[in-house]
């Protein structure tokens, strides 16, 4: 266990050096979400009116969740990069297991999205976003987002290892992220949707997580949640979903890594 931690830490050091040395990646991962917050918050905010609430309050949980989904492509591409440059062989010939290699990879990507989330919080605050719950509850909301990010990073790692080539990883992760994000309550209140579409969106697991975050941030708007079976009392379900995602994807990714490296 100590060895697993030491190995993971040594390998994480490598990823952090990469991040520091490629500021363009850091910048694109920060500027993009920040731009989303500004554009969505201000533009959509003036177009979408919520009874008795501000759109930017509604938006923040959703846009954090979207940022966490970016872990899928980030991790997937990173894993494929390592697979294709021979480093995997090097690691495989060392007296370490596959697990720390994967832990370091996913952790570094999650760290990156945590940094973007901090930047987004600042911009969100600037355009008027305020949490309306106790600090523990707010912290719980961010914790849930972190769990979502970790789960998505493991999903990305698994996809990257199975698909292997960036040309395939890009469109596939896009196809995972897009419907998850837009067929959800992340950006739009679901009341206005036709009922069949609303049902789909409500059963989208991301909607559950976003609803839970909103509630924990104190940004939930009673009206927009009314009648939604799945998103009623969402916190325990969101916790279960995000933990289950990691619990399923992490072992799968480690196994896929072992297989990809031995192939």
């Amino acid at each position: 266990m100590i060895e697993l931690m030491n190995d993971s830490r040594a390998l994480l050091g490598r990823h952090i050096r990469h991040l520091v040395r490629m500021p363009e990646k850091l910048i694109s991962m920060t500027v993009m979400p920040v731009a989303y917050v500004a554009v969505f918050g201000v533009l959509f905010g003036s177009a979408i009116s919520l009874p008795g609430a501000e759109y930017h309050d509604y938006l923040m949980a959703g846009i954090f969740a979207q940022t966490m989904l970016m872990n899928v492509s980030g991790t997937g591409l990173g894993v494929a990069d390592d697979l294709n440059n021979g480093l995997v062989d090097r690691f495989r010939s060392l007296p370490i297991t596959s697990t720390p290699v994967m832990i370091a990879r996913t952790t570094s990507n999650v760290l990156l999205t945590v940094l973007s989330s901090i930047a987004m919080s600042v911009v969100g605050f600037a355009i008027g976003w305020r949490t309306e719950a106790g600090p523990l509850s707010v912290l719980g909301g961010f914790g849930l987002l972190l769990l979502l990010g970790i789960g998505m990073a493991w999903l990305g790692a698994w996809l990257g290892l199975v698909l292997r080539s960036p040309e395939v990883i890009n469109p596939v992760t896009f196809m995972v992220i897009m419907p998850l994000t837009f067929l959800s309550n992340a950006f739009i209140p679901l009341n206005g949707l036709p009922s069949w579409l609303r049902t789909i969106c409500q059963w989208n697991p991301l909607s559950v997580v976003v609803a839970a975050c909103r509630k924990l941030f104190g940004n939930d708007i009673a009206t927009s949640q009314a009648g939604a079976l799945v998103v009623r009392n969402p916190e325990p379900r969101a916790l279960l979903l995000t933990v289950a995602l990691s619990a399923i994807m992490a072992p799968l990714a480690v196994r896929a890594y072992r297989k990809a490296a031995a192939g």
Partner: protein, 324 residues
């Protein structure tokens, strides 16, 4: 000394295709085994199985005293691997690369640092140690890679085509480092397409073709298998060829080899200088004034080509040497 690599009936298949059919090999401690073969012969697959990177489909192998399937971890603690392309992180400096590998060998921070510095000095990389490896030349990268595989002070070193694609000067530098390492007591398994490389570095050579061992022995033994020293004569005028053949035939133990296109006659020399003098005498008697007249020792190329034959004509050009 005991064998540090011992493989029996080693087999690997990819679907229906047998990449390695049934390979037996042994490497005594402190020696260098050269594994020769054309592209796709199964050399890399063999190395990857022995280095625990690939699952073994049949047979078994022990490396550094441990079974590769049952105790891969023990094996990994005792081996170093340098692959066909430099497996180092191009976005880290050489110093950082070596430190990282040291940490992953579970050296503590100071030991990892010390070992890294030692290897940087030895491989003449100190000046460039803080540059990203991505900015290095091919030869330098290969040196970092070799240094990385030596961090754990391996008992057995696997070198999979270590100098493929390098210029002659870099190749020389790498050869010297390998020789130095062998002198320090490391056993080496080296795959190569360059016969010169095997000749230069290997104590024993195994020729692999289509996943099986086609020949095995010391380089000298393999060479003597295709015949001993030969005399090679090239005539100036095509018309002198019959004269040359009939002059040399009595000296040769077997029919002379004749290449009418190049005007070349070659015979085996059984009695060294004695036969050489006889041949010169005979040619003068026949009034043949040769363009070339010289001794010729078979190289591993000849061994290789006599074993693998014309089937691999395309690979032949990759060997960088044409048959004389």
């Amino acid at each position: 000394m005991d064998n540090v690599i011992q493989a029996e009936g080693l087999r690997k298949n990819y679907g229906d295709r047998l990449a390695v059919r049934s390979v037996d090999l042994s490497v005594p401690g402190g020696s260098v085994l050269g594994v020769l073969g054309p592209n796709g012969a199964g050399k890399t697959t063999l190395v990857r199985m022995l280095a625990t990177l690939l699952d073994v489909d049949g047979g078994h192998a022990e490396v550094a005293g441990y079974d590769v399937t049952r105790h891969p971890r023990k094996v990994r603690e005792r081996i170093g691997l340098t692959g066909q392309y430099a497996a180092v992180d191009s976005r880290l400096t050489a110093r950082e690369n070596l430190r990282l590998i040291g940490r992953l060998h579970h050296l503590d921070r100071f030991a990892a640092e010390r070992r890294g510095e030692e290897l940087l000095r030895r491989f003449d990389l100190l000046d460039a140690a803080d540059r990203y490896v991505g900015t290095y030349s091919g030869g330098m990268r290969r040196r970092v890679d070799l240094a990385a595989s030596l961090i754990g002070e391996p008992m057995v070193l696997f070198l999979d085509e270590p100098t493929t694609g390098l210029d002659p000067a870099s190749r020389q530098v790498l050869w010297d480092s390998i020789t130095e390492q062998v002198e320090a007591g490391t056993s080496v398994l080296l795959t190569t397409q360059y016969l010169e490389e095997a000749d230069r570095l290997a104590d024993r050579v195994v020729v692999i073709d289509e996943g099986s061992v086609a020949a095995e022995g010391k380089p000298a033994e393999l060479k003597s298998r295709v015949g001993g020293e030969r005399l090679r004569v090239v005539v100036r005028e095509r018309s002198e060829l019959p004269g040359a053949i009939s002059a040399l035939a009595p000296i040769a133990p077997e029919e002379p080899d004749v290449d009418t296109a190049t005007g070349e006659v070659s015979i085996e020399l059984r009695n060294g200088v004695e036969s050489l003098a006889q041949a010169a005498e005979a040619l003068r008697g026949a009034g043949v004034e040769p363009d070339e007249f010289g001794l010729y020792r078979p190289s591993l190329d000849d061994v290789f080509l006599s074993l693998i034959g014309d089937r691999t004509v395309t690979e032949q050009s990759a060997l960088g040497k044409a048959r004389t």
